[in-house]
């Protein structure tokens, strides 16, 4: 589903190279965990997948279902099924959350040649999704993410993911800022979406999240490269011994 080949990318503003020859393959139905120390390029990778303009790909390619996505803007990537759950979701004053959800869902339907949702059907979907994440509908009457706590923002991201039904879900440190109860709710939400035709890229610092969202593969990112890949036992090994050993091996 996702094939990243020898990817090199830098920050547009100052030219700093962050991703330096990254290779990664994720199959449909797979949950791949990306781990790595601070500054290894994890968040940058998620932004590049979503199409943020602050980064420039200088070499290599990203293939999604066999097609390069490098020339697609963020909206085109999203309507083709790529979803990024942000580490720090933006607060957007003045944009009502419900209105935003309706626009986003209908824009994606439009791009797929489907009719816009009727209001009752839309409301039903939002209510069901909110209930499954233990979210209060009153929260959704507020402007998008404004005044939401860290945990509420993360839930709102998963809510959007549920409603938009993407095929490739990129979760950027979705566990940060969550207490243990919220972590369980969010993880259950993600697990409920696991399907043979859907893949997940779960970016995290800690093994903790991977106890709830059990990965099929684990990849260690360091200095913009995948330096080691393995199964879920690799995450346990990292938790026990830290990154130093793996980095030493690779060097």
């Amino acid at each position: 589903m996702l094939e990243i080949k020898n990817l090199h990318a830098r920050i547009v503003d100052d030219g700093t190279e962050i991703i330096r020859g990254l290779n990664l393959t994720v199959k449909a139905g797979e949950v791949a965990a990306i781990m790595g120390p601070n500054g290894s390029g994890k968040s940058t990778l998620s932004y590049i997948l979503a199409g943020r303009e602050d980064y420039e790909v200088t070499e290599g390619d990203i293939l999604y279902n066999g097609q390069s996505i490098l020339e697609m803007d963020p909206a085109e990537r999203a309507t083709s099924g790529i979803f990024l759950a942000f580490q720090y979701p933006m607060e957007i004053p003045g944009v009502a959350t419900m209105e935003f959800l309706k626009v986003a869902m209908n824009e994606q339907r439009k791009a797929r040649g489907e009719e816009p949702l009727k209001i009752p059907e839309f409301l039903k979907r939002v209510k069901d999704a909110a209930a499954s994440l233990n979210m209060d509908m009153a929260m959704l009457k507020r402007p998008l993410n404004v005044g939401f706590s860290g945990g509420e923002k993360k839930r709102a991201e998963i809510l959007q993911m549920k409603l938009l039904e993407p095929k490739l879900c990129v979760l950027d440190e979705t566990d940060s800022g969550l207490d243990i109860d919220a972590l369980k709710i969010v993880s259950d939400g993600v697990n409920a979406l696991r399907a043979p035709d859907r893949a997940f890229l779960v970016i995290t610092h800690y093994q903790r999240l991977l106890e709830h969202i059990v990965p099929d593969s684990v990849h260690v990112l360091y200095k913009g490269q995948v330096i080691k890949s393995g199964d879920k036992s690799l995450a346990l090994d990292l938790e026990a011994n830290g990154y130093a050993g793996v980095i030493g091996e690779a060097a």
Binding site: A50, R52, I92, G94, V95, A104, E107, P143
Partner: protein
Amino acid sequence: MNMHTQPQRTPAETALIDAFGDRLSLLPGDGAVMLKRDDAIEAIKHGLPTRRIESWHYTDLRRLLNVVPDFDPAAAAKAIAPIVDGSTVLTLLNGVSSAKAPVVEGVSVQRLFEKLTDGSIAPGLDPYGSDDAIGALNTAFVADGYFVDIADGVELEKPIELQNLQAGGQTHVRLPVRVGAGAKAVIVERQAGEGAALTSSVCQLVLGEGAEVTWLIVQEQPETATHLAQFKAHIGKNAKLTLFVMNAGGRLVRQEIMVKTTGEGADFKLRGINLLAGDTHTDVTMVLDHAVPHTASTEVIRNVVTGKARGVFQGRINVHQYAQKTNAKMACNTLLLSDDGEFSTKPELEIFADDVVCGHGATVTEIDHDHLFYLMARGVDEKSARGLLVKAFVAEVIEELDDEAIVEALEARLDDWFVTHG
């Protein structure tokens, strides 16, 4: 060369002076009113204000007012649907009031030409000062309007909508409104029409003790019209006035706002949105006098500038010497969406009291790229995402009004503007 010659009159000045001569016999008024008209046209004969006059620095009326249409007795404007269903509608169609004004209990409505004819409103016709060109223009030519009196204690369930609609030519109207003690009302002032009209419109509002009024100015003139307007208010003891101004049209627009707190506990809120497009010029100029102790005000103006549009906000707050414990805050935020557009902001605080809290701030920004990325990352295409963010920037001010019917009505006007200009 003679150093003392008056500068040559502009075609617009000449047209106004000639029109006055032509119209004089048709203008209503007793001796007192006609004297005020003569004084007013004298002021215009001295020349329209230029950028050398401080209050007109960013709107050089002499240069910008380059077309003055003739009066057009054949122009026929049609009433429009009110922005809130069920409102009591008072129409001024090409400057003429209706003989069949609707009746609302506790509200007395008189056609203004009657009050001009009997001279009873003569004292209110004096311009604000020597640089009050709009006041002078209106006093010279005003022919009609409505005088509205809301009795003490009356709480209106439905808004009153004053529709001032043009179909070309010139119209000059005046709307004195008195709201009695403890009365509550929502008043909508619609300014719209078609064609290249020249309009002057002066509202004079007096709020009695404890009265509460929300006044909405919805200006949607065509991009060929010249709209010169004044809103003057006195806010009595413990009275509350929320004034909402929406400018979404007009070729040359100046909306002046002159407000005075006259009783302790008076509260004034100004909220404004200027949606500027095309090759147009829009100026909102406020002069607020905190004239007594313990009064409060907040002003928030949001501007969206596209195309070659130019906008101005001048906000002057005078805190008089005895007006201790004044609390005043003013903000003007602009979203500049084009390289050719411009917006000038001039906040001024003149404070003679020593125990007050006053502040002001102004910002000019572009669309936030992080916000744009977030919306696009959810599949919203760039054009729609930009539209959502621009609308959000101004909708924030509308939502503050906290009255569902009004918020919905104004958002519908906003959507209309975005459909045409988005």
